[in-house]
Amino acid sequence: MAVAIFLLVIVVGSVIFTFLSPWWFLEIASNWGGIDLTVLITFWVCGVVFVAVGLFMAYSTWKFRHKEGARADYRPENTRLEWGLSIITTIGVVAMLAPGLIVWDDYVRVPDDAQEFEVMAKQWGWAFRFPGEDGKLGTVDVRNINIDNPFGMNSDDPNGADDVLINSNTVHLPVNQPFKALLRSTDVLHDFFVPEFRAKMDAVPGMITYFWFEPTKIGEYEILCAELCGRGHYTMRGEVRIDTAEDFDAWLASQPTWTQMQAGISPKVYSAEGRRGREVADANGCFACHSLDGSQVVGPTWQDFWGSERALTGGETAMADEAYIVESIREPAVKLVEGFAPVMIPYDAETISDADVAALIAFLREETGPEAAPEEAASP
Amino acid sequence: MAEAAAAGHATIIKDWSSDVTTFKGVPWGKAMMWIFLLSDTFIFSIFLTSYMTVRMTTVEPWPNASEVFSLTMFGVPVPLLLIAIMTFDLITSSGTMALAVNYGYRRDKKRAVRYIYLTALFGAIFVGMQVFEWSKLIEEGVRPWGNDWGAAQFGACFFMITGFHGMHVSAGVIYLLIVAHLIKRGRYDNTNYEIVEIVGLYWHFVDLVWVFIFAFFYLW
């Protein structure tokens, strides 16, 4: 008896839960209504089967529970019933599969008027590239990547000169314009996923993957990385802002092209020690998480870092001086800047020697201090 | 012909629907060896499939097999000479193995043991030549992580797959020696010497795998 009630409660409870649940797809903001439709078809077909099987079991366990003197039926097979059920199941499967494949065909066939843009994923952030006026993206190579060339552009490819580079987690796109997103990754697997768009695709190092979508609703949507990419996976969020075409054009025009970016690299004068510190930072990938221009990536920015007051998790503050830097490299989890996750790995003296740390400190003082004083640092 | 096929078909159904054993008259050890070899086939197939995939997806050019694997004889580079000898050696060992099985079933213990030893000797020679080939390639600068002629995966695949096969041959040689020793000691005197056929199955399998490795590595 208890079992029959248990089964009944599961069936009825699941149905009620489904109707009362506040958790359902977020309001769609792309052309992929077809995906929602196929999900719904699948949902209803499966739901009906679930209710039918569940109720049948509930009834059977109640009706045919053990009774004194009762005896079960003896019926090893019933070919007609078995084949009948198989055929009904096959029909149900086709009813789900056929629309699914039709929409998938749509998903993999990019329309001719789709514009291309590139999504570059890296641990743990996003960057974007638009093809510029010539409509062609320049070639890239991950081996070219350094602090001055975060996208790994091939400088000798003319197509790349006017590429618009967005080295930030936020990208804008115009509404009602189909886009083909070309995905690449510089290090490990990532996945570009905006729940409101429904679409997603992995970014795989060494190859370019793609998917297409058309934003249909103006607004701001969060980009999630949906493929485990290391200890900072959950911090790898971005934002896509859907604008009107005019707003988008204005925004795009304000972003640097590759040519502008190269011209804008002002060769800053460092002391010998400071220059070496910059090389240390580059070699150890510090700039992956700490920007120099104020943008917040994975870790806190280094803009105006030296000598600043750091607000820490737990309400305390710390002064950004030598001791603080040494501690933050050797034991990063001890003093955590407020709002940031403890994802940085401790670097021991084998990875970054004490001399290298000293160089880094010199670099940080010269680059981010209020008054850079190369002469002073150069003297010893 | 059709009748014979139908009869064969009927026998299969009869055997599979019978009790006790599915494969009539097949000793447990032999059945087990067949199943093991089936599993091992998958290991080698996946090794070779991975090799082909890697070779097709890598961006660097693949080194030219006939140049890499040539042997200089009297000042003339002869492509694939060593490999040809190795292949011949291994196929010969399959022949001697077949003779050993034959003599085993004839209960000619002495000859069976003699041919097993001969097979093991051919196997050992094969491993020796493989050691020679490896050291030659290593001397020429081929490493699992890189080489002078092109894609790094060349060395990686080559050492991994021929190494895995070489381990199979070495294990086979040890297996053959153990079996020969046990036969001499009279361990199998009360049986039909199926053990010779079982070890023979393994040996033929290793030879067969070599043919595929030969085709995929040296002729492609």
Binding site: L7, E222 | S50
Partner: protein, 588 residues
């Protein structure tokens, strides 16, 4: 021709143990080996259970989790170890190593496995693999945190926890496990094919044996893919070959520049060529065992035996051509989607037939609600949910919004986490009397059942809906980085996660009841007798309970009928064991 098989088996000298260590440690008796496998698998499973509680603390109460020191590293290491232990070292090892070892010779009327020595080695190699796996916790850097799928490049690059040694111990342990499994598996298949007793045809075998048989074949053909990829990844890690590693500009790993030209997708194909059959390696024995439990306790023959057998075989074959449905959004050629979606949904048909036949078995039955039966019924309803949600994820376009979300987590826990575990519990309650000669305590068993069955449903059913919202899986923290509320993670979702966590703590704790029951009943349980459930298959017909070494007396039993002669009309008893000869009266 070689030997007249049955007299040969009957006269086969057994390796009789003379010392304690031969009897209980290096035993060659399949029953002892089965118990060894079972205890080891349960012990390591308890470790995985603790890991799941750590995860649930963090997911439900992220602030508390951070306060008690759960870092992202610990979280990712926990999900990895939890997943791998549960799938390989608990489920695979228990269903095949323990149930397989115990049931095959007994149900088929054999003396033992065909090669008891190899069988004994198999267990000890398995033990070694567990030890190497747990060593992960004692090496520098701790266990790997790459997720149980171990996708490269991530799995071997700094930026992921445990890249120093953890990934090596993990891959090494897997390779060792595969060796152990192969030794055991060869034994199971050879025994089933070549060492059945008189009258035991393949189509008279209980479905448990059929499930184990096909699952073992799948294992022998699928594990090679994992073995090969483990070898290649170890080489990539240790000597910088580039099988799976393309050119990489890693921010965290200066050694990454050594790589060039490899293919990360190749690993995924190999992994899932193993990984999908692995699902059925776990599911098929569970299917088989649950069929037997339902039939025995419903006092009715399993409905459509032949269809059930062919469904198992058909599912087994198909499972090799569906692997890429785990990779719809992995960046492989999109046209593969059409093929793999079709093959995947075809599998739904034989699977649905199995579900129908289980439920129809209950129709006009005479159901005794024993503890094993309770677990079997809970399995069916759980499996229905898990199977149906599989249709979402198998249908390529429906998978696109749902993959990598909590929908996937809920689905696979339902279908290959909870379902087979329920069967394992049911099986233990069912066969414990045969293994020990004593019944498990019924009251504790019912408590254990209700908490587990209701609890797991409450945990995993609502979790699907988090997936619809878009909550991604494998997130250490959903709000922290965004600094507040996110569209994809509303406050209500956080509340739901708290409730799921609390339920998970209760269910986790309830498993201690089960462990207590197992231990206490060994001494204090009610004596069971030879056939407490009045079942028909051969394992209940041994001359002694628990069966002694060699299982049967002088002569092996002779089988005269299938394993499901329950409630045969015109018979006095409502069950006729398989070794009872057919009489005129029995023919109706």
């Amino acid at each position: 021709m070689a030997q007249a098989e049955i007299p040969y088996q009957e006269a086969l000298p057994l390796h009789d143990p003379h010392t304690w260590i031969e009897k209980y440690w290096f035993s060659q008796d399949h029953k002892v080996i089965a118990v060894q496998y079972g205890i080891t698998a349960m012990a390591v499973g308890l470790v995985a259970l603790v890991l799941s509680q750590i995860m649930r603390i963090q997911i439900g109460f992220p602030e508390f989790g951070a306060a008690i020191g759960i870092t992202p590293d610990i979280y990712y290491q926990s999900i990895t170890m939890h997943g791998m232990i549960m799938v390989i070292y608990l489920l695979t090892a228990f269903l095949l190593g323990s149930f397989g070892n115990y049931l095959i010779p007994l149900m088929l009327g054999a003396r033992d496995m065909v090669f008891p020595f190899v069988n004994m080695i198999s267990y000890h190699v398995y033990l070694l693999s567990v030890v190497v796996l747990l060593l992960s916790y004692f090496v520098p850097g701790g266990p790997t945190g790459a997720g149980w799928t171990l996708y490269p490049p991530q799995a071997i690059l700094s930026g992921t926890p445990g890249v120093d040694w953890g990934i090596i111990t993990m891959l090494g342990s897997l390779a060792i496990f595969i060796v152990a499994f192969t030794m055991g598996g060869l034994n199971y298949i050879t025994t089933i094919l070549q060492a059945r007793t008189r009258g035991m045809t393949l189509m008279r075998m209980p479905l448990s044996v059929w499930g184990i048989f096909v699952a073992t074949i799948l294992g022998l053909l699928a594990f090679p893919a994992l073995f090969v990829s483990a070898v290649m990844m170890i080489l990539d890690k240790l000597i910088h070959t580039s099988f799976f590693m393309p050119a990489i500009a890693s921010q965290f790993d200066s050694a990454a520049s050594a790589y060039d030209g490899g293919s990360p997708l190749l690993f995924q194909h190999l992994f899932w060529f193993f990984g999908h059959p692995e699902v059925y390696i776990v599911a098929l024995p569970a299917f088989g065992v649950v069929s037997d439990l339902l039939s025995v306790h419903a006092r009715k023959n399993i409905f459509g035996y032949r269809m059930m057998v062919w469904a198992i075989v058909f599912i087994g074959v198909l499972s090799f051509i569906v692997w890429a449905h785990h990779m719809y959004v992995a960046g492989m050629h999109p046209y593969f989607g059409f093929f793999f979606a079709t093959t995947t949904l075809i599998i739904a048909v034989p699977t649905a037939i199995k579900v129908y036949n289980w439920t129809i078995t209950l129709w006009k039955a005479n159901i005794r609600f024993t503890v094993p039966m309770l677990f079997a019924i809970a399995f069916v309803i759980t499996f229905v949910v898990g199977g149906l949600t599989g249709l979402f994820l198998g249908n390529v376009i429906v998978d696109v919004p749902l993959s990598d979300t909590y929908f996937v987590v809920a689905h696979f826990h339902m279908v290959m986490g909870v379902s087979p575990i329920l069967v394992i519990f049911g099986g233990i309650y069912h066969w414990y009397p045969k293994i020990t000669g004593r019944m498990l305590n019924d009251t504790i068993g019912k408590w254990h059942f209700w908490i587990t069955a209701v609890g797991t449903y409450l945990i995993y059913f609502p979790m699907h809906y988090l997936g619809f919202v878009g909550v991604p899986r494998r997130y250490y923290d959903n709000v922290l980085a965004a600094g507040g509320e996110s569209a994809f993670y509303p406050q209500s979702a956080a509340t739901l996660n708290e409730w799921i966590s609390i339920t998970a703590f209760v269910v986790g704790a309830a498993q201690l009841l089960f462990v207590y029951n197992l231990v206490a009943s060994y001494w204090r349980g009610r004596p069971a007798g030879d056939n407490p459930w009045q079942a028909t298959s051969l394992e209940w017909r041994t001359p002694q309970t628990p069966p002694v070494h060699g299982n049967w007396g002088e002569k092996l039993p002779t089988v005269h009928r299938w394993a499901y002669d329950f409630s045969v009309p015109g018979e006095k008893e409502d069950f006729i064991p398989q070794d009872v000869p057919r009489t005129e009266a029995a023919r109706s």
